[in-house]
């Protein structure tokens, strides 16, 4: 592996980690689409910053982008508060308009701006090693590694510093306000970090794939765990692994690195969604099948208990009745009956099902548990 390859992967991992941290809170706060909105609407901020400074690596670009990000958030909230539109519509209107402004600014100043919409949308991490951070002629590695590393550290610091506040504001904004935690302030700080992260990441992966790195790993982690700390760690790990996996997938296919990273993030989520030990689709199906059996058995017992003193129990407590009126499929009914008989909970007198004392006890307990 060449030094450049190593550096690209290093940058990719750092970008993924920096994105996953604020992304986790977006996912938990049901604001995942704000990452999409912010990552697009920062464009005019970047362009204006560039037009003013003439330098794509100027820190003013980050400031400008963060400011436009906050403008987006406040516009969305302003429209939402007026009750004239639902919040999703507000998001969907604000960011394309700002993005359009950015595209037009680029197009009008095409002579001066070496920034095309392609680059903004798609990014190109493969160029990362060419732009060096070399203060006083000392080569310290790719510049984007330092920028994103700094952003990742700021994100981490913010989360460590405000962990308690973030947690409360995320799970119970009302309580947070009552405790004097200023959930609105936390919200805006978080969105500022999202903007800064998006602008830092856009020349590596572009504004659309930033969304994959912000939302994908935390969404996968969310299926895997209930604990906030575990979720944060898992998000970073999944993001980092997807970044490396994406790099090698891109090498194998000779295709876009950013696109491959997003694809691997998608695969990681799919894996979690299908195979998570507790909440995965497969585990869920297996558990439901098991539960259906016990549930069917308990349903049978409770049914018999309810109708034990019916005058017409000769009808309601036959297994044909189960098929007809409980809408059970014949094999389900006979399976449930035979298993209940085997466990000694039910007996059959002249074709009529009846509870054994054990069965009655189980049924009574099932009813109690309600």
């Amino acid at each position: 592996m060449s030094a450049a390859q190593l550096e690209i992967q290093l940058v990719a991992v750092v970008v993924a980690a920096a994105c996953a941290l604020p992304g986790a809170f977006l996912v938990l706060r049901r604001m995942a689409m704000m990452s999409d909105a912010v990552s697009h609407s920062i464009l005019p901020g970047i362009v204006v910053g560039f037009l003013l400074t003439g330098d794509l690596s100027s820190p003013w670009l980050i400031v400008g982008a963060a400011a436009t990000g906050l403008v987006t958030v406040s516009l969305v909230e302003f429209i939402g508060r007026s009750r004239l539109l639902k919040e999703d519509a507000a998001i969907g209107i604000v960011f394309p308009v700002l993005f359009s402004v950015g595209v037009l600014l680029i197009a009008r100043n095409a002579g001066d701006v070496h920034l095309d919409v392609d680059a903004v949308l798609l990014g190109e991490i493969a160029f990362a090693p060419f732009d060096r951070f070399a203060p006083l002629g000392l080569d310290l590695g790719p510049r984007s590694l330092w920028v994103m590393g700094g952003i990742a550290l700021i994100n981490l610091g913010f989360i460590l510093l405000f962990y308690k506040e973030l947690k409360v504001a995320t799970f119970d904004a009302g309580l947070a306000a009552a405790l004097g935690f200023a959930p609105a302030l936390i919200h805006y700080l978080l969105m500022a970090l999202v903007s800064v992260t998006a602008v830092g990441a856009f020349d590596a992966v572009g504004s659309i794939l930033v969304v994959a790195l912000m939302i994908g790993p935390p969404a996968a982690a969310y299926v895997l765990t209930d604990r906030l700390k575990t979720l944060l760690v898992l998000s970073v790990v999944i993001g980092g692994l997807s970044a490396i996996g994406g790099y090698w997938l891109a090498r194998a296919l000779d295709a876009s690195i950013g696109g491959s990273m997003a694809t691997v993030v998608g695969l990681a989520f799919a894996a979690a969604y299908l195979f998570a030990p507790e909440r995965g689709l497969v585990a869920g199906a297996l558990r439901r099948e098991r539960q259906r059996r016990t549930f069917t058995e308990r349903m049978l017992l409770v049914h018999l208990l309810q109708h034990e003193r019916d005058p017409d129990r000769g009808i309601t407590c036959r297994s044909e009745h189960l098929v007809e009126h409980l809408r059970w499929k014949p094999d389900v009914a006979s399976d449930a009956v035979s298993r209940a008989r085997r466990s000694g909970l039910v007996r059959i007198d002249e074709g009529v099902l009846a509870l054994t004392p054990d069965g009655r006890a189980v049924a009574a307990r099932a009813v109690e548990e309600l």
């Binding site: 689409m33 209107i93 359009s100 876009s256 696109g259 491959s260 997003a262 998608g266 989520f269 909440r279």
Partner: protein
């Protein structure tokens, strides 16, 4: 009136404007339902999800015919919508995360496919790239004809299932309880949404397509309280921003059509949110101001009533400074007294003091009986 002349004589411009108008019309109409069903961002996700469909359609058929690519896009967009639905139903992942995942992962995968296509010797990807950013100028008369045909079928189906779609958007369960085909209507609306997205991709591109769906609808909602009017208005707004955008971008160099169209639609929505009669923010503020003025006026009236109740005579006059001290904010009684005077509830005595008239006393009693309503409107 250069522009109109140009529009009449310039064939390309006419084609582009017609295409943009048709596109705006259908997406405005269908976007209305998306906005009302709180699916505004679904369109965004689906337009991104269409990219791998386009690329795959090209990879599999080797054809760049619009119909083939549109079919690929529609299938991918549709599959995306289905995935979002099943993920949100069967896991704890919620709609916003599912949408974000769908749009970025599908788009990323599409990008991988595009870069693979790019390297094939037999293809330049120029035609495909237009789907990313849109290339309205490249629209041909044939494209516009195809778009118009699709638009007509779309609008016809919408009209045929109007009742069902309306009920689906307003009260799905009630529709189901009557045995109306709500699932079918849902399927239809989703399909039509996908179709109107994919026919727009070529013109305005992946990123801006969703804006064309929801922005005209959001603007239209502010002007009317009828669904039918809203859908028609949204269509008109959409077509209008399409034509305006196309024409404006033709007037100057380096004004890409897609963003200009979106900005036109954005201007319409901004205007609507601010100034639409009754709903607009300006009117909201005005109403608040008026009701605030009335509340302050009533408060001064009641102060005066309370003061005069301490005397034998109901119309006992008082100095304004007393009322100013009682008013909130302190000193605000002057304006309220002027309004009260205009309405004949108070009079100014020769000694420059203020006293309740009989009507004023009556009104104060009325207010005390029903503190909120107060009866007469002003």
């Amino acid at each position: 009136m250069d522009i109109l002349q140009q529009l009449a004589s310039d064939y390309t411009l006419r084609t582009v404007a017609a295409g943009a108008a048709v596109l705006g019309l259908t997406s405005g109409a269908l976007g209305s339902f998306a906005v009302l069903r709180r699916q505004s961002l679904l369109g965004d996700a689906m337009s991104h999800a269409a990219l791998p469909g386009i690329a795959l359609a090209f990879l599999l058929t080797g054809s760049k015919a619009p119909l083939v690519l549109v079919l690929g896009a529609a299938l991918a967009g549709w599959l995306g919508a289905l995935l979002v639905l099943s993920v949100t139903r069967s896991s704890r992942v919620r709609m916003d995360s599912a949408l974000g995942l769908l749009l970025s992962v599908f788009f990323g995968f599409g990008l991988v496919l595009l870069t693979i296509i790019q390297r094939r010797p037999d293809a330049n990807q120029a035609g495909l790239e237009s789907y990313l950013f849109g290339q309205a100028a490249a629209l041909l008369a044939g494209d516009v004809l195809l778009m118009t045909a699709i638009a007509l079928v779309t609008l016809f189906l919408l009209l045929a299932a109007w009742k069902e779609c309306k009920l689906l958007a307003f009260d799905r369960e009630f529709g189901e309880s009557m045995g109306l085909g709500m699932r079918k209507a849902d399927l239809l609306l989703t399909t039509l949404l996908v179709v109107s997205i994919v026919i727009g991709l070529q013109t305005v591109g992946v990123v801006l397509m969703s804006a064309l769906l929801i922005t005209p609808a959001a603007a239209a909602r502010q002007w009317t309280d009828r669904l039918s009017t809203m859908v028609v208005l949204a269509g008109v707004f959409g077509a209008l921003s399409g034509v305006t955008g196309a024409v404006l971008s033709a007037t100057a160099n380096r004004l890409p059509t897609g963003p200009v169209i979106v900005l036109c639609a954005g201007a319409m929505v901004a205007l609507s949110l601010l100034a639409a009669p009754r709903r607009g923010v300006v009117w909201q503020r005005l109403r608040e101001f008026r009701s605030g003025r009335r509340l302050r006026m009533d408060a001064v009236l009641l102060d005066l009533y309370a003061l005069s109740a301490q005397h034998e005579v109901p119309g006992h006059p008082h100095d304004r400074r007393v009322l100013d001290m009682m008013a909130r904010p302190t000193g605000a009684a002057k304006r309220s007294l002027r309004f009260l005077l205009e309405r004949g509830y108070v009079v100014r005595t020769a000694s420059r003091e203020w006293a309740l008239t009989e009507a004023g006393t009556e009104r104060a009693r009325e207010l005390l009986r029903s503190p909120r309503g107060g009866g007469s409107g002003s």
